[in-house]
Symmetry: C2
Subunit: 339 residues, 2 copies
């Protein structure tokens, strides 16, 4: 049995989205396997969580509540978070992984506190300065991985090289890509363009025989399927991801306006509805929710703060996949090989 520790108080729609999300995740597992090989530990106030479980006998069967009464508030400073950490719903859930009573922790709480407590309790592997957040994105030919998506605002060339190596392992294990093509995000593919620390990282990756480095890539390359792992700093990664989200919403909005403005547009929409649904499904960000902090000696998966139940259920899927593919130990092995 595989156990997921869940911060029941994290996120804008906790605890409802969290509990309903776990229920949706469990239903999918049971549909596939009849019996679940996954169980949940909810960290939070039992008085709030218990009624939900009483209403959902199946979820109740595979769940346990661990008492924790202190929620992390947005107003808390990081030093506050660190001091009070062991008493918080999030801190206790992370410690469950450290103490091996759970295999992974999932939270929709803020990135800062989640990242800080995970790093302190779980620690990073030797050779990794800071964990990175990857995201899996759809492309015209399949999927690609991009990291860091916001854990590290300022990066060094050394950190980018570490991200590239971790991304390489993750893309092999989770996306099942044999020899991932790795690129660094820049403002041009020419060697002389962009920032100098990108040039330094490019030089190191170019000389690294364990990695299939293909050079600089641009924003226009992200979705074409011409690169498998896109390496960038957390600031650029975060802006890029949100810009892609915004563009997709924008085109969605334009399509809706255009197709509802004329009779032929409406008729065309009705006929093409199923085809359009496939498109929306591909670009639905909920599908890509659940990003691990790569580089930690344990599995911590960040779910989007505004996650609803469906989005949270995908974050749980991501955590389960991480446990099954044993990503942290793969990263450790690779780091030992290269040391």
């Amino acid at each position: 049995m595989l156990t997921i520790a869940i911060d029941a108080a994290g996120g804008d729609f906790a605890p409802a989205a969290v509990l309903l999300g776990a229920s949706a995740c469990l239903s999918r597992i049971i549909q596939l396997k009849q019996k679940s090989d996954v169980s949940f530990q909810f960290f939070g106030n039992p008085e709030i969580i218990q009624p939900f479980l009483d209403n959902d006998p199946l979820l109740k069967k595979y769940s346990k509540i661990v008492e924790a009464y202190l929620d992390i508030q947005p107003s808390m400073s990081l030093s506050d978070v660190v001091r009070k950490g062991p008493h918080t719903t999030l801190g206790k859930a992370i410690l469950a992984v450290v103490n091996k009573t759970a295999d992974a922790v999932v939270s929709s709480g803020s990135t800062g506190p989640f990242m800080a407590l995970s790093k302190i309790y779980m620690k990073t592997y030797n050779g990794i300065d800071r964990p990175a957040i990857p995201v899996v994105l759809p492309t015209l030919k399949g999927k690609c991985l991009m990291l860091d998506m916001g854990a590290n605002i300022d990066c060094t060339s050394k950190m980018l090289c570490q991200f590239a190596r971790m991304g390489n392992i993750y893309a092999k294990a989770v996306l099942k890509i044999e020899n991932p093509r790795i690129g660094i995000l820049n403002i041009g593919s020419e060697e002389t363009k962009g920032k100098s620390y990108l040039h330094e990282a490019a030089k190191v990756l170019f000389d690294d025989s364990t990695i299939n480095y293909i050079g600089f890539v641009e924003g226009t390359d992200i979705f074409t399927g011409s690169v498998d792992v896109i390496v960038t700093d957390g600031f650029t990664g975060n802006v890029t991801l949100k810009t892609a989200e915004g563009t997709a919403q924008f085109i969605n909005g334009l399509l809706k306006q255009a197709l509802s403005n004329s009779f032929l547009g409406k008729l065309g929409y009705l006929l093409a509805r199923n085809s359009l649904k496939k498109v929306y499904k591909t670009i639905d960000k909920k599908m890509y929710n659940g990003a691990p902090f790569l580089g930690l000696k344990g599995i911590a998966v960040k779910s989007h703060g505004a996650s609803d139940a469906i989005a949270f259920s995908y974050a749980l899927d991501a955590a389960i996949e991480m446990v099954r593919s044993q990503i942290p130990s793969l990263i450790e092995e690779q780091l030992l090989l290269e040391a």
Copy 2:
């Protein structure tokens, strides 16, 4: 008569795209006004340019060729470009504006040389450290302006404040927005998120009563119409723009795949074709070609290197609009007011 100096050798498809683009621009003017109040000066090899003009009597009527035989090659270093500048097609075209024989210069040549020579020959206004490249983007409610799009890879908070002020003037004059809402692109709307130089710039803009500063904005806000001027450094701006382009191409690709995969999809596409065309037109990047270097004491408009004739004709439109709205003198006036 308003005169545009054109670098006939700049860009991937020069001189054909350049000459055909001028022809397209001229046709639009004549359609509106019967007689053109715009003329063109082509800087390049007359032996190449003359045959084009001989084939296009209307364009010939409004055009002049200025001899220049040295093209700027991608292999040339920036110091090379600066040394040979006055003999190049680009350099001569820029100098025509400085010497007041033309009102604006347009080139599809590389940003680096164009920016360098423009800055040396035209100079920036007092109070502007470096010119910035803005881009006009479509939104669900109209248009917005974003800058810098790649002229300045590394920026200071002071530069961002200058960009905000120039963007404010440009949005008023060109986009006809009365009191433009100005935001700084960041990874979260909370004051504490992101890079510290963004916080410094935010503080200055917040205290600036001449500007309607609304705070940090995110990638998801670009296309919603909730902000009119988005301020960012040239690296992030360039990556953001290319990501939006890539996302639009991606969704286009998905739609095409989806709509051609089934009979109903195809039929729906046929019926909704006109509506879909409106969407494509809105997101067609050709429409947004032509970005001035804001902050120079003259008008220099950069056209995309891969511009075809249609795209180049829009860059000419942008230059003509810049001349008509007298953006540089508006920027100068505002700077003098604030000095």
